[in-house]
Each structure stands twice: as C-alpha cells, then as structure tokens.
Symmetry: C2
Subunit: 201 residues, 2 copies
C-alpha cells in the first residue's frame, strides 16, 4: 500500500469530482461526504486532501461546473430579438434548474465559511451570466447608460432566479413546470414592456 501511482493527480481530481457529482445528483447536496467520495473512487479519505485543500474547495469546483453547464445551455440558444431572447433565457434557466434540481440547488444551499471569500474566478463566471443579460438590454435600449443597463440586468435576472427558487422549493404546491414557465414569461414580458415604456429608469 501507499504509492500506487495508478492515476496522476489530475486524473484523481477528475475522478473525485465525477464521483461527487454523482452523489449530489442521486442523493442531494446534504448527502455529500468526503468518505462517500473516497469509497466511490477506491481511495482513502486522506487522498482527497492531496488534490483539494478541503471540502469547501471541492464543493466550489462542483458549483463552478454547474455554472458552466448553465452557460453551456445558454450557448445553445438561437439568435432572436432581445425581448424574446430574455424569455428564452428564463425558460432555459427554469428547465435546467428543474431537470438538475440537486446540482442547481447546491449552488445556493452551500455557503463558504465567513472567513473564506468567494474566489475571483468563480465570481467571474457569475459575471459572465449577467453580461449576457446586459447585452440584451443594451440592444433593447441602446441609449441607456451602462449603469442603467446593469440595473435592468440584475433586476430581471434576480427575478428569473427567484421564481425558480420559490417555485421549485415549494414544488409540492401543485404547480407544474409549465405553470412556472408561465410566471417566468409573465415577469420578463411585463418587465420589458415596463422598461421600454417607462421614463423612470
């Protein structure tokens, strides 16, 4: 034992991530433990700490992968006018979060301890998502200042996320995804109508 050299550190890292993702998908974030991961990849618990500084580090990687998966879905969207594009984004986000509920909710169920700030590269991924929304508002109302555009993007993306969060957490509430999609579209459409018609921006 010790020094098996069966896998490179990089391979081990990927194996651990894959095993962890499987556990989250099947049993939810709260069921994710270092020992379960180790058993799944056939190493001892200690090995995890060769390639991750701690569980929070590992979980941050998992969360980043989910952000990437969402971005990937958004990249599939076809090119349509901005108002419609925003609706498509909202529907895509809803679809992703309902179809990948355990991975998606991990993003919000996990919080780094107070000392550890969210790493910059992770923040950057979040920013990227916002920029896609900002681009739509920029083409919708080109005369608006950057700050106005930013506000609109944050308001509507917050709104889109919030409908997902409330609807899916209370999802026993006899609301199916189709109904939620209606709320999604309602919010986006009315906000956009208001945004275009309003002098108050």
């Amino acid at each position: 034992m010790a020094r098996r050299n069966e896998h490179t550190q990089e391979e081990l890292k990927e194996m651990i991530i894959a095993a962890a993702e499987q556990i989250v998908i099947e049993q939810g974030f709260s069921a994710l433990t270092a020992r379960k991961i180790a058993a799944k990849v056939n190493y001892t618990v200690g090995s995890i700490y060769m390639v991750f500084t701690n569980m929070d580090d590992l979980i941050t990687q998992l969360k980043a992968n989910v952000l990437d998966a969402i971005t990937e879905e958004m990249n599939q969207l076809r090119h349509v006018p901005p108002a419609q594009y925003l609706e498509e984004m909202a529907k895509t986000y809803l679809q992703f979060s309902s179809q990948n509920f355990n991975r998606w909710s991990m993003i919000f169920e996990h919080r780094l301890p107070d000392g550890n700030p969210v790493p910059e590269w992770y923040q950057y991924k979040v920013e990227e998502a916002f920029q896609r929304v900002e681009a739509q508002f920029k083409s919708l109302t080109p005369s608006c200042s950057d700050i106005q555009i930013q506000r609109a993007a944050r308001a509507i993306w917050g709104g889109i996320h919030g409908i997902c969060a409330l609807s899916l957490s209370n999802r026993l509430n006899s609301l199916d995804v189709y109904d939620i999609e209606g709320n999604m579209v309602l919010l986006v459409r009315n906000f956009v109508i208001g945004w275009i018609n309003s002098a108050d921006r």
Copy 2:
C-alpha cells in the same frame, strides 16, 4: 441527576428555540448543532429529543419563526395605494433579509430530507405572504381572474426574493443595500407598468 423538573417541557422548548436562534444569528445556520444548543441551555443533548422529534423538526420551527418575523414587519406597513404598497413590501423584505441575513438565509439553506414533506402549517405561512401580494394585484386590476392574480403575485414575489438572494449572496460585489433597493424598485415598478398596460395577462 435526572428528573430536575426545573422547567416545564414548554419552557424547555422555548429555551432551546431561543438558544438555537442565537447561534444562527451569531454563527450562521451551518454552525447550528444539537450539542451547542444543549450546552447553552444547560441540559444534555438527549433532552432536545424530549421536545423535538429531531433536528429537522427544530429547524423547521426556527424557519417558521423567521417567516413570522417577516410577516410582522409587513404588518407595520402603512396603508398606501397598491403599486406603492408592492414597492414598500419589496423594500421591507430586502431590509429584513439584509439585517437578519443568517436567519433569513437559513430558510433556503435548509431542506427537509426527501421523505419528509414540508408540514402543512408551514406551507400555510408561506401562502399567507402570497395572499398579501395577491390582494394588491386584486385592487390594482379588479377585473382579472383569480388565476391571473395568482400568477402576477407569484411572478413578482419570486422576483423580489430573487433579487435579495442573488444580491446578498454575492454581496461582496460592491453593491450596497441602497443599490439593491434601486433594483428592487425597478423590477416592481416596471412589472406593474407592464402589467397594467399589457393585454397579455
């Protein structure tokens, strides 16, 4: 030892809840443990299970208390026209969630295990919050059907919640509460404008 009879079961329950709330406020939800609570109320861990079926039960009580606190804040709101009332609700929710961040985020960081459904009395408290929003839309557009009103309420309340959730979790992002409040108002105001002007409801 054993059989101290210093407190009634009801008193013990309240002491435990109070101690748990203090821990959440000071150290966050993830730092809440049965043993810490027991130490704070000067009983042994086992005693908690005399008055709560398990930690999830206790946490559900804590979450309910937070919902009550939010409702309490909403009850302080003065009587104003519906469009303005919705904005006031949004601002109140933001203020509460930023001033009571650890208690508020507990509501969304904690999830009952898959077998345990959310208790009815808890669901009811959530419904109550929605009804207050529905009432505003009812007086804003009295001719709308109940289902339209419900959709509007869920859309806008989801939106309000989502802006809080995204803004406060990424709150290092150099956005202060005043900026977020601006996004809040922007969302509500534009949605309401859109809602009133739109034939598409």
